[in-house]
Amino acid sequence: MENNSKMSKAQQMVKGIHELPTIPEIATRVLDMFDKPNVELEELAETILVDQVMASRVIKIVNSPFFKPMHEIKSLKRALIYLGFRQIRHIALTCSIIDAFEGKTGVFDVKTFWEHSFGVGVVSKIIAQRIRYPETEKAYIVGIIHDIGEVFLSYYMKDNFQQVVDEISGTNRSFIEVEDKLLGTTHCEVGYCLAKNWNFPPEYCDVIAHHHAPQNATCDPTLSAIVNLADLFCSVRQLDYGGREWISFNLAEEPSWKILKEFAPNFIDLDVERFCYELDERVPEVQDLVGSLFEGMIKK
């Protein structure tokens, strides 16, 4: 990333936390397993089953309207067969992040925050499908985790972050603008450092760092543009958080729109109005999914 001062500030912040949340060992093992050839399904299932919480979350995700199985899937093994190896990797990663931040919500309302995050995941996947981006699952997962920097700030920098939230509340200002002003860095750089710390794949780190400026992405600007656009749509279709009074955008002026048009020229014909109404339809689904994944964690 080119902005060194913001990046070094973020590095200091992340290094300064001694009891940084860890990605559960189990997730690391699941992730490692995918890099090895010839992993047996049995072996994978056994590894995941060690962590009952993760196992039950995998089953919940696979039964969510998002994956739409014909019949309810009750066993982990069936879930693995249904989802396939690649998706499990992504889901394992998501579940670990949820675990890592369990109970560590700080300033944010955890439910609204994760509804936004999963909303961005769902919309990223829809956009990825529309433009025939080859890795739709990756778009889904990276959409979910794009704002992990916010979770860090909200929990570990509680007081400062409260100031950020207070300053934004009732205004038109964005998180990045106010974070930069008050903290000298933003959730993009912080998220990037966190993701590096956890050895996330480089394309994930790239999106986390550049989801507000996809034109600066180095690994995969298309993926960053997908998440950026999904983020914009969610912010105007009932899946926003943060208490801003106003947000608006005009697609034609968004760098992400330009990037996606280059990737898929027919994307310009998108019926944006219908797209928005269809997103409205998905909102309850996202809320249900988050509700069930975070059962017990979210105080109603």
Binding site: V236, Q238, D280, P284
Partner: protein, 277 residues
């Protein structure tokens, strides 16, 4: 009669493609009940048969209008589209008024096209009145409501409403701008009434449309859905021409201008969008 998801989707897509109004799956039961009502009237037993009737020729387009009337409840009310009103209040009004204030041109022109009995035009009038001590000090407001139906225009000019029309009026506005004469009779304050003029206008009438000039904002909710694509394009082109260069055009909740005009820029805001010239 129970409407299957597949049949719902057929109807939803047909209505969207012909009229430009999208019914989300959350409205399925509502659509189902209105559909059942229409089918009972026509003595049609199967959804498939009704859809064929709807899609077929002249009788179909008459029926489509009936169905749309039922689906949009053909009733307007005050404060009908909160996201739109909020966008106007918090962002679009200051955006339009600030540069005008700088050059001393303190006049706002707003048009409620297809105003029916005036609820939308008067809602806008109240919002502007609330800005009279701040953003819009010493401004002149010119709000025009037009409709093709003289009966509803007479009602608009009278400014007396029933409980249904005012059911979403926030308490603050209720106390300030309405006089409750009975549980079903609410009289609008003269200061609101005098900001709005109502006139008869057929949106198809090109000769009249070209005189509706220099509006800052135009609202046209649940009207274009009744027009075919060619007329829609023509009317929207008029709206485009009738707007100031920085003006905004709004349609109703769940309406879409996709495929009707590519001149406007779509500006998204929480819960809706506006079309910017």
């Amino acid at each position: 009669m129970k409407l299957s998801d597949a049949d719902f989707e057929i109807l939803r897509d047909f209505i969207y493609n012909t009229c430009g109004m999208y019914f989300t799956i959350q409205k399925k039961y509502f659509v189902e009940s209105r559909l059942t009502r229409r089918m009972e009237k026509l003595n049609i037993k199967q959804h498939g048969e009704y859809f064929r009737f709807l899609k077929g020729g002249a009788t179909g387009s008459v029926e489509l209008k009936q169905l749309l009337n039922d689906l949009t409840t053909n009733e307007t009310y005050f404060f009908r589209n909160p996201p739109q009103l909020k966008a106007l209040e918090t962002q679009l009004l200051p955006e339009v008024a600030t540069p005008k204030e700088k050059i001393g041109f303190r006049k706002l022109r707003i048009w409620s096209a297809g105003s029916s009995s005036g609820e939308e035009a008067y809602t806008l009038a109240m919002l502007l009145l609330e800005k009279r001590d701040s953003l819009l000090k010493n401004w002149i407001f010119d709000i025009v409501g037009t409709d093709i139906n003289d009966e509803v225009l007479a009602k608009a000019k009278e400014g007396v409403y029933n409980a249904y029309s005012v059911r979403h009026v926030p308490d603050y506005y209720m106390r300030k701008y309405f006089k409750k004469e009975s549980n079903d009779r609410f009289v609008l304050a003269p200061e609101v009434k005098k900001l709005v003029t109502f006139q008869h206008l057929n949106l198809y009438d090109d000769n009249k449309m070209i005189f509706m000039k220099t509006f800052d904002f135009i609202f046209c909710a649940n009207v274009l859905i009744y027009f075919d694509t060619a007329s829609k394009s023509k009317v929207v082109q008029h709206f485009y021409n009738n707007l100031q260069p920085y003006g905004y055009f709004f349609v109703g909740q769940s309406e879409s201008l996709h495929g009707v005009s590519d001149k406007f820029k779509t500006v998204h805001f929480p819960g809706g969008f506006a079309y910017k010239k």
